[in-house]
């Protein structure tokens, strides 16, 4: 009887520990998987002639790693309140599309034998962390930091910092400047036009 009780205790302990570790997954570990899969897709010769397919495949990965709503709110900061709920939704959608286009163009266009080194993670608080990586290209090393927060039990990126330049802060400055002179509607219109031009450009190429 005593033996059974001990076994139960041990079992309980282990499942408990397993549950805790699932909830407290490490931010760096959580980023590593998708990024490495992304690199594998970029290097996969199968996609050499079908860049649109490669694009969508990588996008599937990125979508699960980035928290685009958080990126949008942070980029607008206090201006977020100037937007109506509908405008916020459209803005988030269009801004996400812009980031998607820039990011994918960049990595699809330039990825040649680069290597991503995961250096370390720093916990900023219980639910915020920085994951430091380095991209090594020929003899140039570029430090890239991902700011992540815990959302619905998963670590997701809300800002990217390349050589000390925060993406969110850079857009915040631009949006401030634009919204000082224009209405939110016009800002959204600008985003839409930029995305449309990009889609047309891609169609021409593809």
């Amino acid at each position: 009887m005593k033996k059974i009780a001990v076994i139960w205790l041990v079992l309980l302990f282990f499942t408990g520990a397993a549950l805790v570790s699932a909830a407290k997954r490490q931010p760096m570990e959580e980023l590593k998987g998708p990024i490495q899969r992304g690199i594998a897709i970029l290097k996969d010769p199968e996609f050499k002639d079908d860049r649109e397919a490669q694009r969508e495949k990588i996008w599937d990965l990125i979508q699960n790693v980035f928290d685009f709503k958080a990126v949008s709110i942070r980029a607008l900061a206090r201006n977020w309140r100037m937007l109506s709920p509908e405008q916020r939704e459209v803005f988030t959608e269009e801004f996400t599309e812009l980031l998607k286009n820039n990011y994918l163009d960049r990595i699809q266009g330039e990825f040649q034998d680069e290597e991503v080194v995961f250096e370390e993670q720093d916990m900023l608080s219980e639910d915020k962390a920085v994951v430091r990586t380095k991209v090594i290209r020929k003899n140039v090393e570029t430090p890239i930091e991902y700011r992540v927060h815990l959302k619905d039990g998963r670590w997701r990126v809300y800002d990217v910092n390349i050589e000390g330049v925060s993406l969110v802060q850079n857009y915040r400055k631009q949006f401030n400047e634009i919204l000082a002179k224009e209405k939110p509607e016009q800002l959204i219109q600008r985003l839409k036009e930029k995305n449309k031009a990009h889609a047309e450009e891609r169609q021409k190429k593809g």
């Binding site: 709503k69 958080a70 709110i73 942070r74 900061a77 206090r78 201006n79 977020w80 309140r81 100037m82 937007l83 109506s84 709920p85 812009l98 820039n102 163009d105 960049r106 266009g109 330039e110 020929k138 003899n139 140039v140 050589e163 000390g164 330049v165 925060s166 802060q169 850079n170 857009y171 915040r172 400055k173 631009q174 949006f175 401030n176 400047e177 634009i178 919204l179 000082a180 800002l187 600008r190 985003l191 930029k194």
Partner: protein, 265 residues
């Protein structure tokens, strides 16, 4: 180099004068910071974020800058943009196509080695004696054994393996607590601030090319340095510009943010 020196200091003097007038276009004001917000709904995420942003308000301050020369800057920005697309980019592409990789890397090492005195002195001025020592060691090894710096042989010596961070007088002044002043875009040289422009002029006597007597040689050497350097970074400017909704503001902010980071390191 001497003409460059005179030209730069004249323009700088001019800038300081203009700054004295401060047109009503001093654009440090940040609409988002004025606090005028119409409230539509209470968003928990938003509230938490505003708290966080308020906490590092001081940090945000550091990348705020006055832009009293806005019209001049914007004009020069357009000039530089054209210079890039019409001249620099095609020239660099041609150069990259005909120049083998090892030669480009070698030239990059060579010019980097020439920049040692500037970095060495500024490391000392910032009290970074260890970095200064690494600079000195690398300079001696690479100049003597690396063909005047063409080969980075110092990287095989473990204490000298890594290139220390870039340091210049603008950063030194920043470490000493001197603020950016205002933003200024120079023809050809690009984005800068009052502090960094002063730093640049102050650094120039430490650059060996400063003492070459023939202006033609200096211009040629500078051109090779620029083009060679650009050959490693082709596409960066395009994607920065392409990703921006307001490229002028995006570039200004990227410059300020990266300088702040350099001063920190």
């Amino acid at each position: 180099m001497k003409t460059f020196f005179i030209y730069t200091s004249m323009l700088l003097a001019l800038c300081i004068n203009i700054n004295g007038f401060k047109p009503n276009h001093a654009r440090a004001a940040d609409p988002a910071d004025s606090g005028e917000i119409s409230i539509y709904e209470t968003d928990q995420e938003y509230e938490a974020l505003m708290e966080e942003l308020a906490e590092d308000e001081g940090e945000a301050e550091a990348v705020q800058i006055a832009d009293p020369l806005y019209y001049w800057n914007k004009g020069v920005y357009h000039f530089n943009d054209r210079l890039y697309f019409w001249v620099m980019k095609p020239v660099t592409r041609g150069y990259k196509a005909v120049t083998p990789q090892f030669l480009r890397t070698g030239l990059s090492n060579f010019f980097n080695n020439l920049g040692t005195p500037v970095r060495f002195v500024n490391n000392l001025l910032q009290g970074r004696s260890e970095q200064a020592g690494v600079e000195l060691g690398r300079f001696m090894v690479n100049t003597v054994a690396g063909g005047l710096g063409f080969w980075d042989v110092a990287k095989y010596e473990s204490p000298l393996r890594n290139r220390p961070n870039e340091e210049d007088l603008g950063q030194t002044l920043g470490v000493w607590g001197v603020g950016n002043g205002f933003y200024i875009v120079w023809p050809v040289l690009g984005p800068s601030t009052l502090r960094d422009s002063v730093g640049r002029v102050g650094d120039s006597p430490l650059y060996p090319l400063f003492y070459v007597d023939s202006t033609g040689t200096i211009i040629a050497a500078e051109a090779v340095d620029q083009v060679n350097d650009l050959s490693f970074r082709l596409g960066d400017y395009e994607s920065l510009k392409e990703s921006a909704l307001d490229p002028y503001t995006a570039i200004r902010d990227a410059y300020l943010q990266s300088r702040r980071e350099q001063i920190r390191k």
